[in-house]
Symmetry: C2
Subunit: 348 residues, 2 copies
C-alpha cells in the first residue's frame, strides 16, 4: 500500500450533494483500486447512501462533521466561522499530509479563500489561479485564470503561463504545449500593460516553454494554442461566453430540427451522429478545474454536476497527484527565477 | 429631395473592395430610393464596376481619390499621412455636412482614430466606443465596447450604457431595452472598481434606463439583457470567443453528420431545417458596428464580408440617420448630467 493515493473529499459541497458525491466516488474507485478517500460530511446522511454503493463504501473513510459551507457564503465568513465544515476539514487533511489532494463541488470563493490560507502558495507564486480545460477544434486546451484574480499584472500572467504549461503537459498529456496570452489583437503593441509585459518576459525567457504570443477570443476554440493565459476577469467572461454560445447554438439547432417534419425525420435518422456530436460538448467531460499554485492539489467540481461529472473532477485530481504536478511547477518556476536573476545581473 | 439621405462610403476599404462595396450599395439602393451615396475611391477601378450595377450607378457620385488606408496601417500613420485616402475623405464629408453618415470596411484602428479626430466626440462623451449587435436565445442584443477602449473607468461605462440603450431602442427597435454590465458574478461586491462604480451610478440614477445590474458571460447569448456594457478588452474577447465557439460548434456538427451514412442521410432530409438554423448565425446579418459617441454616424463593416454583408452595414447607418440617434444620445446624456449635478449639489 506504499503507493496508495489518498484524496480528501468535501462530501457536502454541490447542488446534489451528498448523493452525487458518493455516486462519483463509486465510479472512480471501480477504475482506480489504489485510491482511498477521506470523505468529510454528515455521517448520518452519508452512511445510508454508501450502503447502496459497496465499491465506494470499501474505498471511503467517513470523517464526520455536521457543518457545511453554504453555497452563498462570503469567502471571509467561510474563513472566519467555517473551521469545522466538510470543505475546511478536507483542505486541512491535505495540509496535514493525510491526503494528497482535495476535491470539492462547493462554493468557489470559499474554497479559494480557505485553500489559499491553509495550503499557502507555492514558492514563486504570488496568487493561485483557476485552471480548467475546454474543447477546441483540435482537441482540448487549458485556460487560466478562470476567475480567481480580477486584476493581474505581468508577473502574475507569467506565473500563470508556467503553471498552465505544466498543467497541459500533465493533465492533457501534451509533450510540448504551446502557450498564448489572450488579447484584443495579435500585434505586439496591442493590449494593456499586463499582457504586453508578460509577453515581453516570455519572449525573452529561455524556459522550455513554446510561447506563441498573443491570441484573440476566436483562437480559444480554434485550438491555436494549448494554453490560454489571461486574467481572471477576461478568463471568466471568455469561459462563460463560450458556454452560453454553445447552449444558444444547441437551442436553435433543436428548435430548427423540431420545427419541421423533415427536420424531425432527419434528426431521427441522424440521431447517432447527433448524439456523438452532443457528447463532445458534454460539460461533464471538462469538469474539474484546478486551484493551481497551492501547496497541494485542489480541484473544484462544478456545483451542478452529477456523479459522472464529479467522477471526472476526482480523476483530474488523481491524475495530477500521480504526475506530481506541483513538483514540476516548482522546478519550472525555480528555473525561470534563476534565469531572470542571471539576466538582471548581466543587464544591471 | 429635402429628405434625401446622403451616406459617404469608403470605396476602397475591406478585403474584397471595391467590388463588394458596389454590390452592397446596389442592394441598398434598390430598397431605399431616398438614399444617395458619395463613393470615395479610385475612379478608374470604380467606374467599370458601377457599369455592371445600374441601380448603384444611379445612386452614387464617385469622388475620386487614388489613395487608400492599408489594412495593416497604424492609426497614427493613417492620421498623419492619410489625409487624401478614401476613408479620410468619406469621414470629412460627414464633418463638412455633405453626408449624414460614413460606412467603411477598412482598417478599424485607422477609422476610429480618424473619425475621432475629425468628427469629435458628442458633448458629455469622453471616448467613443464600438457597438454591435449579436444573436441571442431571445433575439438580438447590443454589446459595447467591442474593442476601442482597452481600459475604462466607471464614467466611461456609464456613458456606454446611455449610448447602448439609445442604440438598442433605435437600431433593434426595442421600446425599453434592459441594460446590464458584464462582470464575473452577479453579486454587488464582485468585479473591478470600474464595473462596481458604474453599477452604483446607474442604480442611483433616475434616467429612464432599465438597469438590470451585473450579467455574466453566459448571459450574453441567453438574452438576459438587451444591452451588454463592458470595457473594450473584455468586450472584444467576449465577442470573438462567441464567434469562435459558434464556428467550432458548426465544425463538429458537420463532422459528426458527414462521418456516418445515417448522419449524411439525416442531414440531407433535414437540410431545410439545417439551412434555416445556419442562416440564424449568418454573420452578415449582424454586420455593421457603430463607432458610437461621435458627432456623426460612423459604421464599420467587417473587412471580410461580401456585398450582402456590406449592404447590412449600410442599412444600419441609414436606419440610425433616420432615427436621429445622435440627438437621442445627446438628450439622454444631458439629462443624466443635469441629474447628477443636482445629486452632487444636494449631497455636497
Amino acid at each position: 500500500m506504499a503507493d496508495r493515493i489518498v484524496v480528501a473529499i468535501d462530501g457536502m459541497g454541490g447542488d446534489n450533494a451528498p448523493e452525487m458525491i458518493v455516486e462519483g466516488l463509486d465510479i472512480v474507485c471501480r477504475q482506480n483500486t489504489d485510491v482511498h478517500f477521506l470523505l468529510y460530511g454528515d455521517e448520518a446522511r452519508l452512511t445510508p447512501i454508501l450502503a447502496n454503493y459497496p465499491a465506494a463504501r470499501a474505498s471511503c473513510e467517513v470523517c464526520h462533521t455536521p457543518d457545511a459551507v453554504a453555497g452563498d457564503a462570503k469567502p471571509t465568513s467561510a474563513l472566519r466561522s467555517g473551521k469545522s465544515t466538510s470543505m475546511r476539514l478536507a483542505i486541512d487533511a491535505v495540509a496535514d499530509g493525510k491526503a494528497s489532494a482535495i476535491v470539492s463541488a462547493g462554493n468557489t470563493g470559499a474554497l479559494m479563500a480557505m485553500a489559499t490560507i491553509v495550503l499557502k502558495t507555492l514558492p514563486g507564486i504570488d496568487r493561485p489561479a483557476i485552471a480548467g480545460s475546454l474543447p477546441t477544434q483540435r482537441g482540448e486546451a487549458v485556460m487560466l485564470d478562470l476567475g480567481a484574480n480580477i486584476e493581474c499584472d505581468a508577473e502574475n500572467l507569467v506565473q500563470f503561463a508556467v503553471m498552465g504549461e505544466a498543467f497541459a503537459r500533465n493533465e492533457l498529456g501534451l509533450a510540448e504545449p504551446v502557450v498564448g496570452i489572450l488579447n484584443v489583437g495579435v500585434e505586439v503593441l496591442k493590449g494593456n500593460e499586463a499582457v504586453k509585459g508578460a509577453s515581453a518576459i516570455l519572449q525573452k525567457s529561455n524556459l522550455p516553454i513554446k510561447f506563441y504570443g498573443f491570441v484573440e477570443g476566436d483562437d480559444i476554440c480554434k485550438g491555436t494554442v494549448d494554453v490560454i493565459v489571461t486574467d481572471g476577469f477576461s478568463g471568466n467572461i471568455a469561459l462563460k461566453t463560450a458556454e452560453g454560445t454553445a447552449r444558444m447554438f444547441a437551442h436553435y439547432l433543436r428548435q430548427s430540427l423540431m420545427g419541421s417534419l423533415m427536420g424531425r425525420i432527419g434528426a431521427l435518422i441522424a440521431r447517432g451522429a447527433i448524439g456523438k456530436f452532443r457528447s463532445q460538448f458534454d460539460p461533464r467531460r471538462y469538469n474539474g478545474a484546478m486551484l493551481i499554485g497551492l501547496n497541494g492539489i485542489c480541484v473544484k467540481s462544478h456545483g451542478g454536476t452529477d456523479g459522472i461529472g464529479f467522477a471526472h473532477a476526482v480523476d483530474v485530481a488523481i491524475n495530477l497527484v500521480r504526475r506530481n504536478l506541483n513538483e514540476v511547477i516548482k522546478q519550472d518556476l525555480e528555473r525561470l527565477m534563476n534565469e531572470r536573476r542571471v539576466l538582471q545581473s548581466v543587464s544591471g
